[in-house]
């Protein structure tokens, strides 16, 4: 089930809010779990069972690790738990990719298994791993299986993140407060995220599809494609994170932020501190640091960084374009670390230009499934093939989407947020802001509903994750 759907907004959401607030606190996690399982099964009933098995394994291994925490065998349990949980993901997400490449390299004809990728497997796998590792590192194991299952399967972050680490919500699972302040902030954040997804991300997707489908491409078309794809992915992903964080607040949880205006970065290093922060910090804490981080030889350090980015790319999907996407950022980060960062610090304009260009090129590779076509698009951006710079068709669509493009570009910077903060912090204007806020929520909610009722496209970015 998508947050951006009539079914979610007007069937699922009112039902869970009603029941959640009616039942006593001790049953709230049960309600959350039951609805989360229903939410997950709505996208494919069969694989809800797989998630439940993974949760049960995480629960049992958590208890074993805590019981034998001081003994060597605890490490074995952690290894076993991680291997079991990862094996699900390896099989369901990557097996056909491995078989396909094995066939290509060795000329064999092993038939593909044509396995359906369970939605959200990459997210809940990482959450269960975070749980068992956190328990190994000293966190209390969760004795109540309902609480653990509610943490792993919690619908706000189940299919598109952010990756919530057990350490961050362990206390909230057992003690959390509900207030108008939290509910209000959650509702506002949810509606803003919904609007980012439905109004901006979907429009940018439509624009990218128009550019992609055009028969006579121009240089300007390739650039519009790259910009619209980058904005689509950003607004889709950050919109989903806003919705997840907002829904978390509605149910009393504080999830960590996942995006912080990545396009204003001045380096790839900074970009990844602002983009999908929960994934970056997960890889840092559960892969990079266990590998030795930077407290190793220079050569090993380079290998560690490279490994993290290889896996970061591969995590996004079983395809070479994702691997290349991750490796591309890995190489950029290494270059920055050992050479470029000092040079970038000397010029804000140059550094911003550099990371925007790098991000645009990377998202072309991210979005286009075949590398040949992706490189052909990148070539097209620089005039390869002697194509025209522009055309009537290009300018027509640019004009048609100009307002949305400007809104998206401005929305990708902190300008609106800064203005809104100044507005509400002012003594006089703050009162006006308080009146305008509920009106804004209603207007946005109605407009989003209108776009969902008459929806022509509502792409789901995470089906490959």
């Amino acid at each position: 089930m998508l947050f951006s759907s009539i079914s979610f907004l007007f069937y699922f959401l009112p039902a869970i809010i009603l029941l959640y607030y009616i039942v006593p606190f001790k049953l709230k996690n049960t309600v959350l779990l039951a609805f989360s399982l229903f939410f997950y099964a709505w996208g494919g009933v069969k694989y809800a069972g797989l998630m439940i098995i993974a949760i049960i394994l995480g629960y049992i291994f958590g208890l074993l690790i805590e019981k034998f925490r001081e003994k060597k065998i605890a490490k074995l349990f952690v290894g076993l738990a991680v291997a079991c949980i990862i094996s699900f993901m390896l099989y369901f997400k990557y097996m056909d990719f491995f078989i396909d490449n094995f066939n290509k390299v060795l000329g064999t004809e092993i038939p593909l298994l044509k396995i359906v990728l369970p939605i959200g497997i990459s997210f809940y796998t990482f959450q269960i791993i975070s749980y068992v590792v956190d328990v190994y590192r000293g966190e209390k194991a969760q004795k109540n299986p309902i609480n653990l299952a509610a943490y792993v399967a919690m619908f706000p972050q189940l299919i598109a993140g952010p990756i919530v680490r057990y350490h961050d919500v362990a206390l909230q699972l057992e003690h959390r407060e509900h207030s108008f302040e939290m509910f209000s902030a959650g509702a506002r954040r949810f509606v803003i995220g919904l609007a980012k997804k439905v109004l901006i991300a979907n429009s940018m997707y439509d624009l990218s599809e128009i550019m992609y489908a055009a028969e006579e491409k121009t240089v300007l078309m390739y650039w519009i494609y790259a910009i619209s794809v980058a904005l689509y992915i950003y607004f889709d992903f950050s919109g989903y994170s806003d919705m997840a964080i907002g829904l978390g607040k509605v149910f009393g949880f504080h999830f960590l932020e996942n995006f912080n205006y990545p396009f204003i970065s001045k380096s790839a290093t900074e970009f990844w501190r602002r983009w999908h922060m929960s994934l970056g910090s997960w890889f840092r804490d559960y892969l990079y640091i266990p590998l030795g981080g930077n407290r190793v030889s220079k050569g090993r350090h380079i290998i560690n960084i490279f490994a993290v980015w290889l896996f970061t790319g591969f995590w996004h999907g079983a395809s070479w374009n994702f691997i290349l996407w991750g490796v591309f950022f890995g190489v950029l980060l290494l270059i920055e670390k050992f050479w470029l960062l000092k040079a970038l610090n000397k010029s804000v304009v140059l550094s911003r230009f550099y990371i925007l260009l790098a991000a645009l090129l990377s998202f072309v590779v991210f979005q286009i499934p075949t590398l040949t076509e992706a490189f052909s698009y990148i070539g097209g951006m620089f005039g390869a093939g002697g194509i025209a710079f522009s055309s009537a068709e290009t300018l027509y669509h640019l004009k048609s989407y100009a307002v949305l493009l400007v809104m998206a570009l401005v929305g990708a910077t902190p300008v609106v947020k800064t203005l809104a903060s100044k507005f509400s912090e002012s003594k006089k204007l703050g009162k006006i802001a308080n009146v305008l806020e509920p009106i804004m929520i209603v207007v946005l909610f109605f407009v989003v509903t209108a776009f969902l009722v008459d929806s022509s496209s509502n792409p789901f970015l995470y089906f490959r994750f």
Partner: protein, 374 residues
Amino acid sequence: MNTKIKNIVNAVVFCVAVFGFALLCLVLPKPEFLDSERRPAAAFPTLSLESIMKDGLEYGDSFMKQFDDKYTPDNFPFRDFFRNLKSFVNTNVFNKSDKDGVYVVDGVAAEMQEQIREDQIAHAADRLTFIYEKYLKDKGIKPYMAIIPDKGYFLSEANGYLSMDYDEFIAEMLASVEFMEYINIKDSLEVGDFYASDTHWRQEQIVKIAEILVNGMGGKYDSKFEKKELDVDFYGVYAGRAPKPLDAETIYYLTNGNLENVKVIDWENGGKEISLYDMEKAHGKDAYDMFLSGELSKVTIENPNAKTDRELVVFRDSYGRSLLPLMVEDYAKITIIDIRYQIPQILLMGVNFENADVLFLYSTLILNNSSELK
């Protein structure tokens, strides 16, 4: 308003919106037909073990997907209001020029045809050439061709929308069927001759076209008609797709004493006699289907009171349905063939080409998207 009250108002407003519409979704009656979109509303999907267990490539047919994508949007309360709100925001806030290629100028909707599709012209030419060589060439018949421009010809370029070069399109089409004699009707049409919300032309506006065609094929046109009004609100094909709401239109149809006495036979359904103007279909889902009872692949009109004993064989698309009744006084028999639904070898069985004019009457919409021609 202080922050504490604002928080309460925010929460209440959000809950009222979510719970209010949830309640309306449950209690309001569901429409069977979406009038402004000219299509049935999606019914509640089949709920069975099989339909909820579908996944992967089959997920699109699952109960859940059908419920999400079809049932809930189609049956949402005040759907037309929300569709209009979306149009308003797209047009007035986002300043978008079109909606999936459909645009509106002064209340008239049209669709952009920005590219001449060479492969489609070639396919159309191939199909028409096949008919000519198999049925007409040996008989020494030189067929006529008339091409109807879509509304984009009148609206696109002048209003900044993408447009193909219609003159070039027609030249390319004619160059690939050189055996035809072209009758130019394009220059006699204007945008007001078409319905604002539909692709088709208005019958009451195209007597002049009937005259050009009859005279162009050697006849002498002098038919006169009485204009009658249909008592239905007509929403054309663009009503459900246009970026702005479109007004309901009135359909007029033309008749006279001769037209009321013609014999119309539907050969697709076993030689059943039908009406020139089907009043049941006029009150159905698409009122334009009143003309010759909609999309039938083979129909004949016999007129015992015709001015001549000549016959006319017409290969046509849907535009021909409203035009051909205006030509029946000039022909003893008109055979109307639509090769979009059946192969010509079957449709032309028993058709007499002796003493007949042959006309190919197609719109640019069909010729530029001709893959359905068989």
